[in-house]
């Protein structure tokens, strides 16, 4: 029988992280293989075609579409400035000439004799890609982008909002089960990646925005607070483009839930180190989870062999595996696998499913569906 794979979040003191940094369309790669780069260095650049503005000159100047090209003062491929006359009609006996003054600047891309429509292409839109993580370029893909590699401490969150952010790790809570209250956020946390403990109320996030923190990370938050912070009810977990003033990452889930001890201990051991974070989450096939990436520096960064590279946790469940229960009624409880009965069992819901036994940190032994746990660490 095939072995079932159980998902999990990756939390590790050391791994070899590879950031694939590519442009949306072909462009210039500014660094080469072997170059050392800092997290915020621009490594590739391109220009997207500018916005296209259609202008129906036939309607604007009361012409037949076929007459439009003959009235243009500038031809296809030529540039027109905002406020410049783009077209002029011949008028009647040279009198009563109509004019159209362009409202936008750009290059005339086309003029149609069928529709009387002129398309003006605006200024190209520059796009820059940053390295994201301080490290070394191990591959440069001409015209496309680069792969940057670094040995890092790595924490994968469960959900986030907001995009890439950078700053030093600063601890706000002393214990993973301590609520991340607003009064724990201080002015000196400006530009920092601030680490909380358990639930993070909306007030804390607002306070962190006020002091200019780069990101806040904690175990959990209430959905009601998320809605308030975003200004709308999030329907599907596809995030990363929100602009609320900082990046928010939760490591465990929604509700009153403490950060896993292992995660908290790792982050506090790296307090003061420069981190790169990304709140982007996509929960679809090809899942994307938020990340906290903290490059190793000094002696810790000395090369080692056989450093793992996988950015996703999870694996095969065995007795002794550390797991987190991820569904009510035991949501958030952590323990080790104590038994893996092979026969499906009838659950309280009436459904039949394969289960496992979890010996909890509290000493309690629980039976839960195998689908309702995830592997911690890895």
């Amino acid at each position: 029988m095939a072995t079932a794979y159980t998902p999990g979040l990756r939390v590790t003191r050391r791994m070899r992280y590879r950031a694939r940094r590519v442009l949306p369309i072909a462009g210039d790669v500014l660094v080469g293989a072997g170059d050392k780069v800092a997290s915020q260095d621009v490594v590739a650049r391109t220009e997207l075609p500018g916005d296209a503005t259609p202008i129906n000159l036939a309607n604007q100047l009361s012409l037949t579409p076929a007459d439009v090209p003959g009235c243009l003062l500038k031809q296809e491929g030529e540039r027109v400035e905002a406020g410049e006359i783009l077209a002029r009609t011949k008028g009647i006996f040279g009198m009563f000439k109509g004019e159209y003054v362009s409202k936008v600047a750009g290059v005339i891309e086309s003029a149609s004799q069928v529709t009387g429509q002129v398309i003006i292409r605006g200024e190209p839109i520059p796009v820059e890609v940053r390295a994201f993580v301080t490290g070394q370029v191990i591959e440069a893909m001409p015209g496309e982008g680069v792969v940057v590699e670094a040995d890092v401490s790595f924490v994968q969150g469960i959900f986030g909002i907001g995009g890439e952010a950078f700053g030093p790790i600063v601890m706000a809570c002393e214990d993973p089960s301590q609520e991340f209250a607003p009064e724990l956020v201080h002015e000196e946390m400006q530009g920092a990646v601030v680490i909380g403990g358990a639930r993070m109320p909306g007030e804390t996030i607002r306070r962190a925005i006020d002091v200019g923190a780069a990101a806040v990370v904690s175990g959990g938050m209430d959905d009601a607070d998320l809605k308030e912070v975003l200004g709308y009810d999030l329907g599907v977990a596809i995030t990363g483009t929100e602009e609320i003033g900082l990046t928010v990452i939760i490591t465990e889930g929604f509700g009153e839930i403490a950060m896993a001890r292992q995660t908290f201990a790792l982050l506090s051991s790296r307090a003061g180190a420069a981190a790169s974070v990304n709140g982007a989450t996509q929960i679809r096939a090809g899942v994307l989870r938020p990340e906290i990436v903290i490059p190793l520096v000094g002696e810790a960064a000395e090369p080692e062999e056989d450093v793992p590279t996988a950015t996703h946790g999870g694996g095969v469940l065995e007795e002794g595996t550390l797991v987190r229960i991820i569904r009510d009624p035991y949501f958030g409880m952590i323990g080790t696998v104590a038994g893996l009965p092979s026969e499906p069992q009838v659950l309280g819901s009436g459904s039949k499913a394969r289960v496992l036994e979890v010996a909890c940190e509290s000493g309690e032994k629980l039976t839960v569906p195998r689908a309702n746990v995830e592997i911690i660490g890895g």
Partner: protein, 612 residues
């Protein structure tokens, strides 16, 4: 691809390559009839580290082979074809044909355009949906966006292909070309494979085809097919639909990992999964001469399919995809769209709303978890009712008679004027309602599946209820293209699990008043009585049994014969039996929370939904 004589096909292997799982079934001819015998599944392998869809297919086929005691895959990892008969001490091996559907990688995503949103653009949308696509957006001259906003939108989307319609043959040229002039400068980029050109199908006014061609440069691969709406009174969706399927194989599939191999393996063109489901439902509607609604509720989306008699009496097929109504990835969106009070009205005990909202979000971010407690199950089924209800509303609004058609009316029509654009989905004319998708298929009790269907779809009159046993409809849809008889036989015998028949009265009155009298006669039951408004009752009638019913509705109620008119029908049994529903249509629940809770609790008890 092999050309095979249907009479010589005895063993069929079919797979459906979904986003997460590849499901394989084996169909064998037994005693002259085709039966589905074994099934197996394996994770789909379109992502790293394997990135070859055929690996998942081989794994699923191997599992089926092991269960069937029949080798389907040889030592080189190839499917064994044709069948090698049993020899001395050697069991038979292989299959006669292999077929497949696919929705891996998010299925087929399309942008459609037309001149008028309600006319040619609606026809284009119908063609794309019918072919099994997800329609990302509909661009039309009257979609209330400014041209630069439309261009910007086209730029943002990364569809797999574009379907462009507009104008009847001999009609507007200018408006059609104007739409082309929005698409061309947007320079749309295909979702996969930066190295290939965006496929664009033009299915509009044939007199504009040459001018449309002139607008596009070589960044798109333009193909021209017959007009989707040659005259306002008629749609011609077939050519566009066929071209979508061709391009799906040539471009979208060909760029997905391992699909070049899979295409070479199959004995019929690979179809998008929802397209295949639509095909089998059309086949069954045609074969039995009935109106059918099918639903597939997934984690992210809900598909609704219907085949109903159109204005001219011919069956009309419609499919809609409610892109953000689903039970895991989109569960939060269902709650946001309908509102938590609408979900909680189906729950017969109190729940803390803050706690529930967090649970919903936790399900969204960890979509593979399952309800462990009865409370969690009841809540999930409440969400399902709302997701299905909203998806069906969207479907009914979409499945309409053609808009823009001129109608000749006489004085006699003065009081019964039907406008164009009326929904053709009529619950009173619905004969069969088919359910599929995890929350419906895997409900611990069949009664729960039946109750979710009745509450969400509100069938009227006499309606058979069924569920797809193991989500076999996609396989049978593609099988129907090579062997329709085999597909229909398996559909009736193994695919559908009949839940029973629902008899529901349309109309409203005060709770407790007489709704209808009933008389049920048959081998297992002989009962007569009266149903009061607000009641629902279940009568055991097993899957092999039928019964004669006579229903006499009270004044103002209709069970299919007209208001107050008596009906006599033979009804089919099923795993649940016969359900008499006197709760009224439209179904309304009390606004007062206490009343609502006690009403829903009584219905749960009467239908024996839960074991409490």
């Amino acid at each position: 691809m092999n050309a095979t004589n249907p009479d010589q096909i005895n063993v069929i292997l079919a797979t459906d390559c979904g986003s997460t799982t590849t499901k394989a079934i084996l169909i064998e001819k037994i005693d002259g009839h085709y039966r589905q015998t074994y099934r197996g599944e394996a994770p789909t392998t379109v992502e790293q580290p394997v990135a070859d869809v055929t690996a998942g297919v081989i794994n699923a086929a191997t599992e089926v082979g092991e269960l069937a005691g029949r080798r389907l895959v040889d030592e080189q990892g190839q499917l064994i074809r044709p069948v090698k008969p049993a020899g001395e001490g050697q069991p038979a091996e292989g299959c006669d044909i292999y077929i497949s559907t696919s929705s891996a990688g998010g299925g087929l995503q399309m942008l459609v355009t037309g001149v008028v949103r309600e006319m040619t653009a609606a026809s284009a949308k119908r063609a794309a949906l019918g072919a099994g696509a997800i329609v990302m957006d509909v661009i039309a001259s009257n979609d209330r966006r400014k041209p630069h906003e439309q261009i910007q939108r086209i730029r943002e989307l990364r569809p797999d292909m574009i379907l462009m319609s507009g104008g009847t043959d001999g009609g507007t040229v200018e408006h059609v070309v104007r739409i082309a002039e929005l698409i061309a400068p947007a320079k749309p980029q295909p979702r996969f494979g930066s190295g290939y050109r965006m496929p664009l199908i033009y299915a509009g006014n044939k007199e504009a085809a040459g001018l449309v061609r002139e607008v596009f440069d070589d960044t798109v691969e333009l193909s021209v097919v017959d007009n989707i709406r040659p005259v306002l009174e008629r749609e011609n969706l077939g050519p566009a639909r066929d071209r979508i399927h061709d391009l799906f194989l040539e471009h979208v599939m060909a760029h997905a990992p391992g699909y070049d191999k899979l295409i070479a393996w199959t004995d019929a063109p690979i179809m998008p999964t929802p397209g295949a489901v639509g095909d089998i439902l059309q086949q069954i509607a045609k074969a039995r001469g009935i109106n059918v609604v099918g639903v597939d509720i997934g984690g992210a989306t809900t598909d609704v399919f219907s085949v109903f008699d159109g204005a001219d009496g011919n069956p009309v097929f419609n499919r809609t995809v409610s892109a953000n109504l689903g039970m895991s990835y989109s569960i939060s969106n269902v709650c946001a769209e309908t509102g938590m009070p609408n979900v909680l009205r189906w729950v017969h005990f109190d729940m803390d709303e803050r706690e529930l909202r967090n649970r919903v979000k936790n399900k969204m971010i960890r979509p593979t978890t399952i309800p462990q407690t009865l409370e969690a199950l009841v809540f999930e089924q409440a969400v399902a009712r709302e997701a299905l209800r909203l998806a069906y509303i969207q479907h009914r609004e979409f499945a309409t008679t053609l808009k823009g058609v001129q109608q000749q009316r006489t004085v006699g029509d003065t009081f019964s004027q039907q406008k164009g654009g009326q929904s053709i989905v009529d619950n009173m004319k619905l004969d069969l309602l088919v359910a599929s998708g995890g929350v419906l298929s895997h409900a611990p009790r069949m009664e729960q599946t039946a109750a979710m269907l009745i509450d969400a779809f509100e069938p009227e009159g006499v309606t058979e209820l069924a569920k797809d046993s193991i989500f076999m409809m996609p396989h049978l849809g593609v099988l129907a293209s090579v062997h329709p008889q085999a597909a229909l036989e398996v559909f009736e015998r193994d695919c559908l699990i009949y839940l029973g028949t629902c008899v529901a009265a349309k109309g409203r009155a005060k709770a407790g008043k007489n709704c209808f009298r009933y008389e049920i006669s048959g081998e297992p039951i002989n009962e007569r009585g009266e149903m009061a408004c607000g009641e629902i009752r279940r009568f055991p009638l097993s899957i092999e049994e039928t019964a004669q019913i006579v229903i006499e509705p009270a004044r103002g109620f209709d069970v299919g014969g007209g208001p107050g008119k008596r009906i006599e029908r033979e009804v089919r049994g099923g795993e649940v039996g016969l359900i008499l529903d006197a709760r009224g249509r439209p179904l309304e629940l009390p606004e007062d929370r206490d009343n609502c809770r006690s009403r829903v609790e009584r219905w749960s008890r009467d239908l024996r939904l839960y074991s409490e």
